[in-house]
Symmetry: none
Subunit: 339 residues, 3 copies
């Protein structure tokens, strides 16, 4: 780590959070933050991949590792986003992005997010050609080894999720409160030019912002309070989405603990005008939300009522993820306490 | 007509059309134009309603008369929007808005839209109180009489549509191409601060832009070509939508002629966080789209396949509206030819 | 002056200010206003330069003269922007833009800005070719003479600033409050299609809006209160910025008087994907901010602590600009008083 940082001022960026970046309680949407993170990652990795002579390319987001929203950000605060490249494989770049909220009136600063993103350089001439990534220099040999380990781990995980991707959300007529059907939601969006990179494909950050929007509405419909994004599980971007496509983003609740809700979100793309290809699943992910009181304290969440066998199975799977994350976090805290 | 014009510069507005205002073929979305029209109307009517001493108010859109999109507008052109007040009743204001596209390279100008909007002044202190409108001065007596006739006609029509509003769009699983279920679409939108007036209610123009977005996706899904808005039937805004609400905008095709498609759009509001009130129908309307070739010529439209009795009935009703509009237009053209 | 007015309706424009146009205290950002000014100037000058037969062109912003923000504008008010062409040289157009804020509830109107902009017509076919400008007709001979004098003056000034442009902002670790390093800030922005003109280069107004955003963050970090733009020094646009570039906008405080802060802003462009060219300085400028109490009264500003020789030199230069502006304003007021 720490190879670049200060040498690359352009990897630091600050922007004031506006009313449209936030919900009516003034909390900045998780999706706004995810979009800023991805833009910083896209810039630093595209710059790096073009730093040597040869074919020009655009870095496309392939994966975002699980990320937690450590503290809320509010309207009027400055979001400071910094990015650095921490590992390169032959065809991919790992970028570490940190987000800090800064209250410029009090000077208070808080870490909001630490995210790890993987990018792949696609040729500007032929979007289906993946170019080679110039290697970075490591200060210590173990940085490279640890990076390689992270690289291998995410590669395995990407293969796995590719299979899970077939599920569909069916509409429910006259659902009961707190059932899955009651809160499930979907939106359509026509992909415009500003949603896209130079290659004419949707920015990963734009997709994540829409996913957070749907997940947030599902969460709010379920508990009818002010809700905020607590974390996002690893997201893999298997398929590109072309300009002019219509994307359908749909979300359903899969699990509730006492104080959190897990929502599964699907992104389907329909390149209906200029392609022979039909509708396809482009991305899927799990978002976790918490419900907050007016004072910003976590509130209890109504339990999700599962009705079908599939819903019960998904609830158990969600519980598994919840317990695993909890265990991991406790292990980290113990480790930290020992140092 | 023509009472004001140059005396009220703020009722004139020009803006360059950007890629984000248009589809990928470069045609500006009908919704972009409807939003500009409504903003011009809101400014001129709010200004007028506050022109006398007394309680301050914000003019809220109550109704837009049927409007045709007479010629397409493109990226890079300037949209010139002008507005004037043409009639006032005790509690409402009629505004005439004209939109002209101007190619600032060639100097070519074309009338794009002529729209008539009705606004009602709501008290800034008490949003449920409708204030009185200062009367305008007419140059000729018949202007007032014609205005009064238009006022009475729209009042009747508003009562009628209020009853039609109960319908719901049900989802269809695995629909066949060119059926109603195949192209029907819906989106959800969380109402943010920039969508709202000073009173905290959604601008009519924001709602119309979302409606056009959904209708356009329905049309594109049906015929898989470049589509543009041809006209919008009268729209009545029966119910206000509050900041923080989630709105669901859904559209379904009701009728196709050889070269046009009619799409019915519903707007439902769910003020789920801060109100005891449940979901309600806020607006509904019919949009007509045409399909264009790459050269901008109208293309034949695949016929809509109706399956249920309701779909067949709606198709016949759509046909009725289509024939009525056609007859009206022919009568106008004959009248024009005689002068 | 005053040649046109009502004959050119498209040079008049009105728009309601939204929450996203303003800071959390409700004051519209200087950058929002600069962007509206530039759009009005670009429309009127592009229209004029294409008013005679011949090669088509797009007017590109070359320079904005120093402009003062005379009174604040608030959310809900209408910004009325009017533009007229006041001088033409062989290859450039001088546009005068006035902005008036209008409270449509009370009818109160205030002049917010008077700005002078210079545009240059670039051929649509060959962006490096500057076309000839059709001459305007002057009502009085002295209008032409005065315009020519303004033209010569700005030409000299443009040459000067071209040299100053080499400076860079270095990051500082653990800076003390009120030092230069403490408040300096930067943002990165990926240039999208809607940021650009028909020629594919960034609108001057988009650049100015980003500059104001960074300068505003610097000012707020320094004095931790509600701050507003008071004035912008002349800005020269030496170099175009292409679509797809990444721009880095960085700002540092150079000078403080009792009640104002001067911030220097640099814009660097990195056309890293599709050009052989490296990063370059595109624009630089000085913004002046004031700090306001909750009642809108100017507050004292903490003095800037200069540490290095360069910082002390820049402080003295800033003081020179401050005293010069003050002297000029007093001279104008005395002149006005004598009439």
């Amino acid at each position: 780590r720490g190879l670049r940082g200060c040498e690359l001022p352009a990897s630091l960026s600050g922007r004031i959070m506006r009313p449209d970046d936030a919900n009516i309680a003034g909390n900045v949407h998780g999706g706004t933050i995810l979009k800023m993170i991805e833009e910083a990652g896209a810039i630093i990795s595209t710059r790096h991949c073009n730093s040597q002579a040869g074919e020009h390319c655009v870095a496309a987001l392939a994966r975002v590792e699980r990320t937690d929203f450590l503290s809320p950000m509010c309207i009027g605060e400055v979001a400071n986003v910094s990015a650095e490249i921490t590992y390169t494989s032959r065809h991919s770049v790992e970028v570490q992005v940190n987000v800090m909220s800064e209250n410029i009136l009090t000077g208070a600063k808080k870490v909001t997010n630490k995210a790890t993103l993987w990018y792949v350089p696609l040729s500007l001439k032929n979007v289906n050609k993946v170019l080679e990534v110039p290697p970075i220099q490591y200060v210590r040999k173990e940085q490279e080894d640890e990076g390689k380990k992270r690289y291998e781990e995410q590669k395995l995980d990407r293969l796995e999720t590719k299979q899970r991707n077939g599920d569909v959300i069916f509409p429910v007529i006259n659902p009961e409160p707190h059932t899955v059907g009651y809160s499930q939601s979907s939106l359509i969006h026509l992909v415009g030019p500003s949603d896209c990179t130079l290659l004419g494909f949707v920015h990963g950050g734009v997709t994540m912002k829409l996913m957070d929007e749907v997940a947030g509405i599902v969460a709010a419909r379920h508990c009818k309070t002010n809700i905020v994004t607590a974390s996002v599980d690893a997201i893999n971007f298997h398929e590109k989405i072309k300009k002019g496509s219509v994307i359908t983003v749909s979300g359903r609740m899969t699990f509730t603990s006492n104080k959190s809700m897990e929502i599964e979100v699907f992104v389907d793309a329909d390149p209906f005008v200029d392609e022979s290809r039909g509708r396809y699943r482009a991305v899927s992910a799990f978002f976790t939300y918490v419900s907050l009181s007016k004072e910003g304290k976590p509130l209890p969440v109504p339990q999700l009522l599962t009705e079908t066998e599939d819903e019960k199975r998904r609830f158990e799977e969600g519980k598994g993820r919840y317990l695993q994350t909890k265990a991991k976090r406790q292990a980290q805290m113990q480790q930290a306490a020992q140092h």
